[in-house]
């Protein structure tokens, strides 16, 4: 034992430059791993802070979580481009800063799965908002993107398709359909990136992460999918995409009767 330690020590000295090198390499690898953990915490923190701001209509502070060129898409409302438009969207659609007396609009941020790109510059989250409001219940889902600018994480894309909205009567009796671009002011800068149906139908926004165990990525179906009738990629689902359509994806139009 003692002899081994002596040998190790002697070897360490002889090989100092190599070991120093490998220690530096190991330190760099460790640094990357620690940074990744810190980044995931920062991304979760950002999204959770977003939720607390929504709860109390603190729109100015909320908009400051975004990059200058951020995009925001909530429900079926379409795309809003840039931080300024994020603020405009919130203040026009939901009123000026500060919560209105008598009104509850909690958007609680739960179940976050953050991830960071290998170069540490981009991040993603899948998470949910649990909406408890004067109007009833809501379940938006998020697949958001984040960017590290000068060492600070910011939200660069918010994509929040709805799973379900219902009144206080509950989702057994009542289901609100998805929003659409001109449902309320302001109008979006671009139409929705995907047209889909909410509960009682369901839509699967692709997962930014592969299956954590198998490593298999989620493959969304190639044709336009507004709602799933069967799991993605299955024969039944592929056939459902063709229902009511020609093989090229266009819809059949009935010819007027001729003599």
């Amino acid at each position: 034992m003692n002899r081994n330690i002596l040998w190790a020590t002697l070897l360490a000295v002889v090989a100092t430059p190599a070991i120093a090198q490998s220690v530096n390499e190991k330190l760099a690898a460790l640094d990357a791993r620690i940074t990744r953990l810190e980044d995931m915490n920062a991304i979760e923190r950002l999204q959770r802070a977003y939720g607390y701001f929504v709860d109390k209509s603190q729109w100015t502070q909320l908009s400051e979580l975004f990059t200058e060129d951020a995009t925001l898409e909530i429900g079926g409302k379409g795309l809003f481009l840039g931080k300024k438009r994020v603020l405009e969207y919130m203040q026009t659609a939901f009123g000026k800063d500060g919560a209105k007396e008598n009104s509850l609009a909690n958007h609680m941020q739960f179940q976050s799965i953050p991830d960071v790109s290998a170069d540490g510059k981009t991040g993603w989250i899948r998470s949910r908002a649990y909406v408890m409001s004067s109007g009833g219940w809501g379940l938006p889902l998020y697949e958001n993107e984040y960017r590290k600018e000068n060492g600070v994480w910011k939200e660069s894309r918010l994509t929040g398709p709805f799973t379900m909205y219902s009144s206080w009567d509950g989702w057994g009796k009542n289901a609100l359909n998805n929003t659409w671009p001109d449902k309320f002011e302001p109008a979006p800068d671009l139409p929705p990136s995907v047209i889909y149906l909410t509960y009682p139908a369901y839509y699967i926004i692709p997962f930014h992460y592969p299956n954590p165990v198998t490593g298999k990525a989620f493959t969304p179906d190639h044709d336009q999918v507004g709602a799933y009738a069967a799991p993605p990629g299955t024969k039944a689902q592929m056939e459902s995409l063709k229902v009511g359509r020609m093989a090229d994806g266009t819809q059949q139009i009935g010819e007027p009767p001729r003599k």
């Binding site: 179940q111 009833g136 299955t234």
Partner: protein
């Protein structure tokens, strides 16, 4: 002794740099092991949350693939299913026996409040989670589910997997009825799927679901009083010290999140002695407008105002600890945390109650263990279960006459219709500006708070 002597001689002979390089190597290994445990906590959270998202969308195969080959699932009275294939088939049958969801099916398995413990060797873990299910079939039925997971995880060939998933269902209740009207035996039944497709093993637990108080056994020890494995202290030399600081701050954040989650799990079930044990000796407890209680013993008694130890039949006291934003001081000795605190209440013969609120808590590290220094819950709204936020707003309770607080409330405010915003303990994540001085909305009764 001998070893030290030899190293001493070697160092003296061959220069200090050598011993130093080896020291650094050893310290690096210690630190890497700690980082691996932090990554384990991340992996465990991802697994369980991913499971929820797959089940939400009827992706039974992806959900089953998260398990180890001998992985098990046990939900309520349904018994134990072993292995990916059986788990997949069970999940499928549990939801109407088709791939994907049925049109009109809602199947949200909301997965909350993790308290993760990674084993000392970093190769296995346990976690307690809170389950809230929003289930149903449009125009037919809708249900709430309430439960606790006590799960285990294993790392195989570098990949974390679910080893056992055990959901102790507390109740599944029709939306219209609400939990407060549940009768014994109504809230937990064996599924038809489990009757048709028999489990591999019978239930491993006995259940005492709501309206009884069901406390699923804790796999992890109490985070303050429990006998936790003490990690040998390593002194880190100059090149590693800053890394060790960063790792320690990450560990602190996890420890504080766990502490708060465990407080919630104890508080839910009226385990007041356990809940009080999480406070520092001079800890402070403040709930709404009920005033301030100081010191562990006063707090333990004050908690009895929420019900008897272990609660009583028909008494639901769910206080969730979610959406954590934890800020650890640079020296690693104190921390602050904001949490989202939905509340589900019931008392025998009364209507159910929903509540929401915010925690702004302070923590202190004593003898290397994180403890609650100041738990301050600001309820922000309560409503009658049947009537909802648009038609019913309930006030907070005032100070108890039976067991008066040590000090009056530190902040006077009212719940909804008021819009008090508990000041944020953290600065804005992007601008870095403080958020503890934002203007309060004007209140038609009290006037602006500030």
């Amino acid at each position: 002794m001998k070893r030290l002597l030899i190293i001493g001689i070697a160092s003296a002979l061959l220069g200090i740099g050598a011993a130093h390089a080896q020291d650094v190597g050893g310290q690096l290994d210690v630190l890497t092991a700690r980082v691996e445990k932090l990554e384990g906590t991340r992996a465990v959270k991802k697994l369980q949350r991913a499971f929820g998202y797959y089940v939400d969308r009827g992706l039974w195969g992806d959900a089953a693939d998260l398990f180890s080959d001998s992985g098990t699932v046990e939900i309520g009275l349904d018994g134990v299913y072993i292995g990916k294939a059986r788990i997949r088939e069970y999940l499928k049958r549990l939801h109407g026996n088709q791939e994907g969801l049925i049109y009109g099916q809602l199947n949200e398995w909301i997965t909350l409040q993790p308290a993760v413990s990674i084993a000392a060797d970093g190769r296995s873990a346990t976690a307690r989670w809170r389950d809230q299910g929003m289930l149903g079939q449009y125009k037919k039925h809708a249900e709430w589910r309430d439960g606790i997971y006590e799960n285990a995880y294993v790392k195989e060939q570098g990949v974390w997997k679910i080893k056992t998933l055990h959901l102790y269902v507390n109740f599944v209740v029709p939306y219209e009825k609400g939990w407060a009207r549940l009768k014994p035996g109504e809230g937990l039944t064996q599924s038809q799927a489990s009757k048709d497709f028999a489990p591999d093993r019978a239930s491993s637990a006995t259940y005492a679901p709501f309206p009884d108080t069901q406390v699923p056994p804790f796999q992890a020890p109490n985070p303050v009083t429990g006998k936790l494995a003490r990690v040998a202290r390593t002194t880190f030399s100059a090149p590693l010290a800053p890394y060790q600081e960063r790792v320690a701050r990450l560990e602190d954040q996890d420890a504080v999140e766990n502490l708060q989650a465990m407080f919630g799990f104890y508080f839910d079930k009226g385990l007041w002695s356990e809940a009080a044990s999480l406070f520092a000796p001079k800890g402070v407890f403040e709930y709404g407008q009920s005033g301030v209680y100081v010191g562990q013993e006063r707090i333990r008694k004050a908690l009895l105002l929420f019900g008897p130890e272990g609660l009583s039949r028909g008494h639901l006291n769910n206080h969730m600890m979610l959406q954590a934003i934890i800020t650890v001081a640079a020296n690693g000795m104190t921390a602050k945390g904001r949490f989202q605190g939905p509340v589900q209440l019931a008392e025998l013969g009364q209507n159910g109650i929903w509540g929401v609120g915010i925690y702004e808590n302070e923590y202190v590290k004593e003898g290397g263990v994180w403890k609650l220094a100041n738990l301050h819950f600001y309820p922000t709204a309560f409503t009658d279960y049947d009537r909802g936020w648009a038609r019913s707003l309930l006030p907070m309770k005032g100070p108890s006459a039976v067991f008066p607080p040590d000090r009056p409330p530190t902040v006077v405010y009212r719940t909804l219709p008021g819009q008090y915003v508990p000041p944020f303990s953290y600065p804005h994540p992007v601008t870095g500006k403080p958020l503890d001085n934002l203007p309060q909305a004007a209140d038609s009764v009290t006037g602006a708070v500030r």
